[in-house]
């Protein structure tokens, strides 16, 4: 069956999920990355190891967690460790193959800002901050990024370097003594992007079904480069779509359950 009836967000999540291998050990960011990682686990990569920074290793939640530390993550994990252990032994120790991140702002070299919009001391918008991401970006073997495209999010110059991608491009990572690969893949709601092997600038390698070059450019703040051999992203399969929709339905039911608490 061909899933001709799907949203761009569904396409994004499913295309991102395909990037994870069964053998990967993945440090999962909350939000869009969490959905993609769990779809991978529920489809082609049942043995992928998902790690959340709250300390859960090898977790297999039946619904997507609202927060990074929901009880469901611990209940279904192989083990749960303290947060210091998570960052020292598992992340800094080099045992994580992929870090899967989202971004509030990103540039063409995969540098990520989740700290502030505007000036740091007098911000226009104060964002939550880096959390685990600054070290995820430098300690995981490679970084996958997934996010919805917009000119506000994909900018010529980010306001703050929360997490280092390829810096100014080229061998900037190596020059800083970072030995991991950095961002190797970005999946948006419109396209799949990979860094140029030399300049490290993100280049569109595949357009999602029905998406044109003009549509990608219209939602991106820099002049987009397209690969010479531009592919079309395979449509979601019936099983991929069903898995994602079932997960979203279970998740919605779980998080709206119970009456609204009076105290927070």
């Amino acid at each position: 069956m061909s899933g001709t009836d799907f949203t761009s967000t569904e396409m994004m999540t499913i295309a991102a999920s395909r990037a994870l291998k069964n053998t990967d050990v993945c440090f999962v960011g909350i939000g869009a990355p969490s959905a993609a990682c769990n779809i991978a686990r529920l489809t082609h990569a049942p043995d992928v190891t998902l790690i959340y920074e709250s300390g859960t290793i090898g977790t297999a939640p039946t619904v997507l967690p609202l927060s990074i530390g929901d009880g469901e993550l611990c209940d279904t994990a192989v083990t749960t460790v303290s947060v210091p252990e998570m960052f020292r032994y598992w992340l800094q120790g080099g045992r994580v193959t992929v870090g899967f991140l989202g971004a509030a702002q990103i540039d063409r070299f995969g540098n990520i800002n989740t700290t502030v919009i505007g000036d740091y001391d007098h911000p226009k918008t104060r964002l939550p901050g880096g959390g685990g991401a600054p070290e995820i970006a430098s300690s995981c073997g490679e970084i996958f990024i997934t996010m919805k495209q917009s000119k506000r999010a994909m900018v010529e110059k980010i306001d703050f370097f929360t997490s280092f991608g390829h810096g100014e491009g080229g061998d900037h990572r190596q020059r800083l003594g970072i030995t991991t690969k950095g961002p190797t893949l970005m999946v948006t709601d419109l396209a799949v992007w990979k860094p140029d092997p030399v300049t490290r600038e993100f280049t569109v390698v595949s357009l999602h079904p029905g998406v044109t070059r003009e549509m990608v450019q219209a939602e991106c703040g820099w002049t987009v480069r397209f690969a010479d051999a531009l592919d079309e992203t395979p449509e979601p399969t019936g099983i991929e779509l069903k898995t994602l929709r079932d997960l979203n339905t279970r998740t919605k039911a779980a998080h709206s359950g119970g009456k609204t608490g009076e105290a927070a």
Partner: protein
Amino acid sequence: MAHFMTLPEAVAQNLHSGDMAAFEGFTHLIPHASAHEAIRQGVKDLTLVRMTPDVVYDQFIGMGAVRKLIFSYAGNPGVGLLRRLRDSVENGWPNRIEIEEHSHAAVANAYEAGAAGLPFAAFRGYKGAELAKVNPNIKSVTCPFTGEELAAVPAIRPDVSFIHAQKADRKGNVLIEGIVGVQKEAVLAAKRSVVTVEEIVDDLETHPNACVLPGWAVTAICVVPGGAHPSYAHGYYPRDNASYIAWDKIAADRDTFLAWMKDNVLDATPEDFADRIKHLRSAS
């Protein structure tokens, strides 16, 4: 040595205006009841530390109790931004707090250093990131063996740390289960500690590798059933996600926020927490 007492007594004896305090919990076991008691007692000028300041730190900040915040991720997990924190940073209401911002790895390592009695923590971090430019407490050291340059941050040593846990036995030994976060380190790094628990039991009925804080390492223990709400206590009640979602609206407006604080914090008591989790217990 752990002393059993009421929460109002424990807060009055262990938290003073001007202190550096941690109310730790990583999504799980966040000590809301302790924080509400501290707000009721009117402590001011606090330096608050936490890896993941969320709703309860939004409340401290909105009530004008905070001078400085040391943190690594300030958000309402899964919901969005902290609106009282934003109002303080962006508009100076009710006061402009000072910010010392780190990454999770830095704060986790800094608590460990505090617990270990070391002056600072070294780790492989902040490479290429800009936080070091805006936070003078992020420096670097050179490894004396390999020459590698590593990030360094000062140890965190709160005057007092507050945590919530599942249970304590009658000698004051405390059991923490599930997502244990950085609570053990926060208690051992602090000069004083206050632990609220769901219940006191004769026997912790635990296994040899569980996270137990011996009674002699804790200052005060208070029984407050539901004391983590709307956070959760693994094995007792689930996270009240609806409350976190509701907070976004409550915190969006200054007057709505102040009215909510009067009804739910200033005019409330630690005993009110037991009622707040009744529907969650029956749902789980």
